[in-house]
């Protein structure tokens, strides 16, 4: 079936290194992708989004890359900090069903000193 999935369930990163979180999607009709960060006991927090007509978007310390050819999405975090430890979800949305976000299972990022 169609789904949004993550390649690695857990990612261990040393403080100061760059993190790369990968996500695969299978629905070519998806036109909008979002990355959320969820800390323990909290709701998902918006990080960055990208439309399907773009292949790269940068924010503060984060970059999202979209490869529509292979249906792959990635989140890069520069200079990972202890506060980046969380579960990261990619989510896709298919216009016009806006709001019905399809989430993957998430990747646990653990930042080690």
């Amino acid at each position: 079936g169609e789904s949004v999935g993550l390649h690695l369930p857990t990612l261990s990163v040393q403080e100061g290194d760059n993190s790369i979180i990968n996500c695969a999607y299978s629905n070519s009709a998806s036109d909008y992708f979002i990355w959320y960060k969820q800390e323990s006991g909290k709701g998902p927090q918006f990080i960055i989004d990208i439309r399907s007509n773009m292949d790269k978007r940068q924010g503060q310390r984060v970059t999202v890359l979209l490869n529509k050819t292979v249906k792959h999405l990635s989140l890069q975090i520069a200079a990972t900090q202890p506060g980046d430890s969380a579960v990261y979800f990619c989510a896709e949305n298919r216009n016009p069903s806006w709001g019905k976000l399809q989430f993957g299972a998430g990747t646990q990022v653990v930042v080690t000193p």
């Binding site: 949004v4 036109d31 909008y32 979002i34 959320y36 006991g41 909290k42 709701g43 998902p44 927090q45 918006f46 989004d49 439309r51 979800f89 989510a91 949305n93 216009n95 016009p96 069903s97 806006w98 709001g99 019905k100 976000l101 989430f103 993957g104 299972a105 998430g106």
Partner: protein
Amino acid sequence: EAGVAQSPRYKIIEKRQSVAFWCNPISGHATLYWYQQILGQGPKLLIQFQNNGVVDDSQLPKDRFSAERLKGVDSTLKIQPAKLEDSAVYLCASSYTGSSGNTIYFGEGSWLTVV
């Protein structure tokens, strides 16, 4: 600006009992969502409101779950009777409109344990 407010934060009930969760979206946000997040999984949409009308409730188990947004602002989600598999975090979210590209902001969630 104030975020999405939810209450209660935590609730423990026995199976077959009922429970209600309340949500106050970000001021001015017309679209409100309820998601269910089971431990270890990503959130799943239960119901979406545009003002006080239902846009999508295709994944809401209507035999036991109900939701309303009578005045187009606050919303309540009710479960009656609860089952063990309803143990999850119930996340309320809102966006300015229901149009593509409007960021969806989540609340902290209401954690339900059914025993």
